[in-house]
Amino acid sequence: MSETTSMLDKKDTAAEHEVLLDAQDVKVHFPIKRGVFFDKTVGHVFAVDGMTLQIRRGETYGLVGESGCGKSTFGRALLRLEEPTNGTVTFAGTDLSPLKGEALRTLRRHMQMVFQDPLSSLDPRQTVESLLLEGMRAHGLTKDAKAADARLRELLTAVGLPVAALRKYPHEFSGGQRQRIGIARALSVDPELIVADEPVSALDVSVQAQVINLLQDVQEQFGLTYLVIAHDLAVVRHISDRVGVMYLGSLVEEADSDGLYATPLHPYTRALMSAVPIPDPLIEDQREQIILAGDLPSPANPPSGCRFHTRCPWRQEERCDTERPQLRVVQIDGVPTSHRVACHYAEQIHSGEIERHEVSATAVDPSSLSDSPTVNTQENPGGPISAP
């Protein structure tokens, strides 16, 4: 842990510790409607169910989880692209929830988003120049035409595209270049926070590395704060200072990147890590794999107590299925207080007092999504999980 401490020391200035974004108990529940004449709400999909996290200025916060865990919905809720059902989001001291219309629009300049699929998030009929200028114009940054032009050139240089790219259309670029345009567009209005939702998962491995490096370069150059949302734990660990692991709508563990890798405490984090293939046959042959049984339960019908208890290889008779664990600091030597985990038995599992046991896969019933959520959770802990 000494390495981690020294890293934190380096950033020991007031600005570095300032909380830029503060989300408190954010929930996003989507109603499930049924009926032809009456839009009867028959249940809710609990996409995000009580997320609390802080992002400090200048840091990269990585949010990792599998498809359906609510990570993208949470990212969108932060920017009010999705209306939160509950909770508050404070950005640089401003509470976002009461903001409407013009006030919200103006504030969006400071929080931008980079999307997963660069082709579908770029208008095919606009040139790169017009794509980049659109945001700037909306925020009144193009009044000085000369300065705007200089800004465009600066942006392109920053993301490693030639100036000639300005006159081209999105289809004329490769996937990696399109993602560069997406990043340039986010940068064009000089934001403070960038929410990147799966920024590299649509790209080939060699191009993925280019974009990861680029994200790190522009962060340094423009002093950005990132929230990186991804399903790939290796990518998230590589670029993030702190990592939050999400499962079924809430955080199960939060720690600085190195700490999370060195001592994963939540059973889900351990399983997730053991499932990430490492390109080294010597390690692959030896390491212990924790294969989780079954699929992610339906967020319309989440299990009671700890959401992970239906698949947890360390599940205990008591508390796990009745009491929902909250993120808490653990009393384990060498684990800093910044490392928090939502597991009742984290200490005992870490010390080996509680041993792993077999879990049999329970039947999955995706139709529970459309069923009433009052169906017994024990019988139907399944859900439709499509591709990430």
Binding site: A234, M273, A275, P281
Partner: protein
């Protein structure tokens, strides 16, 4: 084309692909060579990996072997000898008999590979009825056992369900059950876990590993993920621009990757156990920068070790002179042994 040097197909070879070339094109246009003289062998019970990025020809290779390429607009040359028969010369009827019985395939997207309006049970049973001549009721009972074997909980209920009612991991398991229905001797898996979450991927890879060990089925694993390869494949072929650029047994390849492209791929992957604050050694450019193989090495414009000869002479696939094991390499200026990107 220079004759690649893998040893001539011996008796214990199950599938022997030689000089497989696939060209796409319309009349009057220069055809595009998607696969360019690919040769490799698969022995019974062996797992062979075809690794590369999009557009490297790995999927087209498998479709050509299975005879699944469209009838028009392409030209397939070379041979794919399976058990003494060249699969590429078979007519449609003969190929249909083979497919599913001797050689089976699973695809990346299980939802689009399943018929949405037919229940899972009927789809699995169809394979048994067609190839093993089973009666419907017997086939259904067998289907139930197959679903059970691939780890689908509550298989009796699943038989009656439709693809949309299953999760992604379940669908892929159902496809694997169909592929295994006739105990094929060769299974081709084309990116079987790319559409799945990482914990589900681990489940499916585990299942495939068990199948290879238990039934002695040979497996061709097509993937872009070197991590998957590291844990699964006995022999790895790295493809670039339609050609194999490096072939080696798994341990050899990862211990001393010699081709700059293989090295570049390994350097591009953020590793869960690697150093964190370093920049990734990305490969510059994209496949759009490739030069044609006929005028040099296709990878040369993106290669950090490219020298003059790389742009002038086509490299051939040869046994690596310094390697101890079988290690084929297509490069004029490879990394020194044990070289790190």
């Amino acid at each position: 084309m220079t004759a690649p040097s893998p040893a001539p197909a011996t008796t214990d070879t199950l599938l022997s692909v030689r000089d497989l070339t696939v060209e796409f094109g319309t009349k009057g246009q220069t055809p595009f060579r998607a696969v360019d003289g690919v040769s490799f062998d698969v022995r019974p019970g062996q797992t062979v990996g075809l690794v590369g990025e999009s557009g490297c020809g790995k999927s087209v290779t498998s479709l050509a072997i299975m005879g699944l390429l469209p009838k028009r607009g392409n030209k397939v040359a070379g041979s794919a000898t399976f058990d003494g028969t060249d699969l590429l010369t078979l007519d449609d009827r003969e190929m249909r008999d083979r497919r599913g019985r001797d050689v089976a395939m699973i695809f990346q997207d299980p939802l689009s590979s399943l018929n949405p309006v037919v229940s899972i049970g009927v789809q699995v049973a169809e394979v048994l009825q067609r190839h093993r001549g089973m009666k419907k009721s017997a086939a259904m009972a067998e289907s139930r056992d197959l679903l059970d074997k691939v780890g689908i909980p509550d298989p009796s209920r699943r038989l009656k369900e439709y693809p949309h009612q299953l999760s992604g991991g379940m669908r892929q398991r159902a496809l694997i059950a169909m592929a295994l229905a006739c105990k094929p001797r060769l299974l081709i898996a084309d990116e079987p876990t790319t559409a799945l979450d990482v914990t589900i991927q681990a489940q499916i890879l585990n299942l495939l590993k068990e199948l290879v060990v238990d039934s002695g089925t040979a497996l061709i694993m097509i993937t872009h993920d070197l991590g998957v390869v590291a844990g699964l494949c006995d022999e790895v072929n790295v493809l670039y621009g339609g050609r194999i650029v490096e072939t080696a047994p798994r341990h050899e390849l990862f211990a001393s990757p010699r081709h700059p492209y293989t090295n570049g791929l390994l350097g591009s992957i953020p590793r869960l156990d690697g150093a964190r604050n370093e920049q990734l050694a990305a490969i510059p450019g994209s496949v759009a920068d490739n030069i044609p193989w006929t005028s040099g090495c296709a990878f040369a414009p993106r290669c950090s070790r490219a020298i003059d000869v790389c742009r002038a002479e086509t490299p051939s696939l040869e046994q690596d002179s310094v390697a101890i094991e079988d290690h084929l390499l297509r490069c004029h200026n490879p990394w020194p042994t044990g070289g790190e990107a």
